[in-house]
């Protein structure tokens, strides 16, 4: 069953992502405790917090990589599917931009972009893509959307500059056409100008019915987001619109004096 627990019509008005009392015990990754989070279509939400606050863990729960010990994750009204086929359909609607990009260096740009379509392709198509890269026009279009020259399609990813790789990773997300965009510190280690450009690119993609949840280190990049959620020691400190954000909120978060129980 692809929609366990909730009916299909509900998913039209349901939040794109909902975390209900999610708890992840800490072993290798920082723990999460009692996280409630709701992300509606068209919303662009930034996740702030110091290193080790639990941002990556939260994103791993949101993209289904990690299963919470308690609580539940609901994507567009659907709980985590039991059958692997249905789960793959759910995951195909979630796109993640990883901090280390996770592009496949040995393949061409076009083959990397098509990795975004693998969930919907069968074996023959996926194998053919390794011989004759497929869907050139759609890939060229994705590159144009991220301001890259379509001539790059045949190049190996290993030959690209750092900035070009970031854009190719975003273009791969565009090929996937996900409903939920997740990004784990995508702007870390980028120079300020490039960081601003890429952030703009991501924000532009996050229009309804899509939603964006992006983890950040830098509060100076919050312009363009609708909401900000702060995390500390695996708990949400506060969750408020960017417009209502006070400098003291940020100072408290990074100084470590914000009380985790003060959420909203």
């Amino acid at each position: 069953m692809s929609n366990p627990g909730l009916n299909a019509s509900a998913s039209q008005s349901s939040p794109v992502l909902e975390l209900r009392n999610v708890t992840v015990p800490g072993r290798q990754l920082p723990r999460l405790e009692g996280i409630h989070l709701r992300l509606d279509a068209g919303e662009r939400v930034a996740l702030l917090g110091a290193s080790g606050a639990g941002k990556s863990t939260l994103l791993a729960v949101a993209n289904g990589l990690l299963q919470p010990a308690q609580g539940e994750v609901v994507w567009s009204g659907e709980r985590r599917a039991r059958s692997s086929r249905a789960r793959r359909r759910q995951q195909a609607r979630i796109g993640t931009l990883w901090q280390d990009l996770r592009l496949i260096e040995e393949l061409s740009v076009q083959q990397n972009l098509n990795c975004g379509r693998l969930a919907s392709w069968g074996w023959p198509r996926a194998l053919l893509n390794l011989l004759l890269p497929l869907e050139s026009e759609a890939c060229a279009q994705a590159l144009r959307q991220v301001d890259l020259d379509p001539h790059l399609l045949s190049q190996s990813v290993g030959e690209l500059s750092g900035g070009q790789r970031q854009r190719v990773a975003i273009a791969r997300l565009l090929r996937q056409q996900p409903q939920l965009l997740l990004a784990d510190e995508p702007l870390a280690s980028l120079d300020p100008r490039l960081a601003q450009e890429l952030l703009q690119l991501l924000l532009e993609q996050a229009t309804a019915p899509r939603a964006l949840l992006l983890s950040l280190h830098r509060p100076d990049l919050l312009q363009g987001f609708d909401r900000v959620i702060s995390l500390r020691q695996g708990r949400i400190c506060w969750d408020r619109p960017v417009a209502q954000l006070q400098t003291s909120d940020l100072e408290a978060l990074y100084a470590g004096i914000a009380e985790p129980s003060l959420a909203r």
Binding site: N63, G64, L65, S84, R88, R89, Q90, Q91, A92, R93, I94, G95, T96, W98, D100, R102, I104, E105, E106, L107, S108, Q111, C115, G116, L118, A119, S120, W121, W123, A126, L127, L130, L131, L132, Q176, P178
Partner: protein, 513 residues
Amino acid sequence: MKPAAPLLLLLPALVLLPLLVLLPGLVHGGGWDLIGEFLLAAVQPSTDPVVLESLLRGLGVTAGMALLGWCASLLIGIAAGLASSRLLWRTLIGHSWPAEGIRRLLAIPRSIHELIWGLLLLQVIGLQPVIAVIAIAIPYGALVARVVSDLLDSLNERNLQALMAAGTAPPAALLSAMGPPLLPGLISYGGYRLECALRSATLLGVFGLGGLGNELLLTLQSLQFHELWSGLWLLLAVMLSLEGVIGALRRRWGMPGRFSLRASGVGRRGRELVLAGLLLMPLVFGVGRALAIEPAALLHWQALPPIAPGGWQEALALPWPSLVFNTVLLTLLAAALAVGVAPLLLLLVAPWPWGQRLLQLIWAIGRLWPPPLTALLLLFVLKPGVITAALALGFHNLGILGRLLLEGSEAAGPQRQEALRCSGTGPRLALLYGRFSGLARSYLAYGAYRADVILRETVVVGLVAGTGLGTQLNQSLSAFAFDQLLLLLVAYAALTLLGEDLSDRARQRLLQQ
């Protein structure tokens, strides 16, 4: 149109198509009940104390022969490796031509399989425990020598030049500048050769040179499958323990991995290394005494029968083209099977975690099970010939390559595969795109090296499966036709040297792309 890396990895598996078409024609109808009995006996090995005692004694002899052969090969290999290093000669006398000459000479012992060395020594010296040790030490020593000289010549010379410029004597400068960086690669490769030595010692036993191999052959020939499996499980336990210990030491001492995906720079824990070396010495002497090894026996040669008149004409009249063709075909089929089937099986079991464990067990059995015994088993149901021999040789090498692919896959890390899985890609495609992309070239390069080894190993299955130069070698040995034997050895050596050259070129091409 150029196939991308992961597709290259799957191309050798195309060999399965003609094999599947041809295989039904090879089935001779009988013997399936024996195969069934053999498989059932795996879960009911004999626990008879008399059988176990005999098997354990055989295992001890095999392990002892492997240890001694390995130690001797390291001594020969390091000495010959230094002697064939261009860098060493250039530093000492200013020219590297002696290194070139020694390298060419070493190609001859390297090109002849340890089994041929064993059978030749058996003819010349008679059945002595030392034969198996020397049979392993000669080709392994030449292989280690090649690796040592290649490692040495590929090291950065700046440190050496700095010491020489400071007035250090050349031998001291060589030892100080090149010794430490050489050690990790040498010890890592040495560990791998110990695993190989255990397999070779088992194989030599199959051909009558003592140890567990002989027990396995006898139990197979007398259809005592329960006893056979007792020996097999014991050997498996020893081999897996050895692989585990070597792998753990390699990680602990910071040595490069077999695939060299995560090569470390310099070995750590020098004291432990020295201590291990010191402990090895009394162990080697103890094992030598226990096995009654008499190096002096090597000096007492038996008189060989004279060559019959007209023998050379008969030797030249052998069907050389078909012998060589079948040997090459056998190599190509077995290599393609081993290289291509390993990734295919990993893809097949990708959705099930237990599938990988099952493959590991089957591959471990493939590694330790000597190919001639697999060929004998296959002969229960298949007719002898190139394909039967290729299946036996392919299964053995699949065990080796499968393990390497799995090790490489684990070392490559799960990140890219995870990323694909998180976007809804199925487990098999995520493995193919996410992990195999990075592994393909180094795996195929290792496959090219393995093809070269398989060419040497064709003699092993040829002896029982009735095909290629190996079969003729067996017949010539049995007939004491030393003229034929000499020509066969020359043909084998020429073929393996050519194969080595081709595999080197293929490897370099794959790794440079």
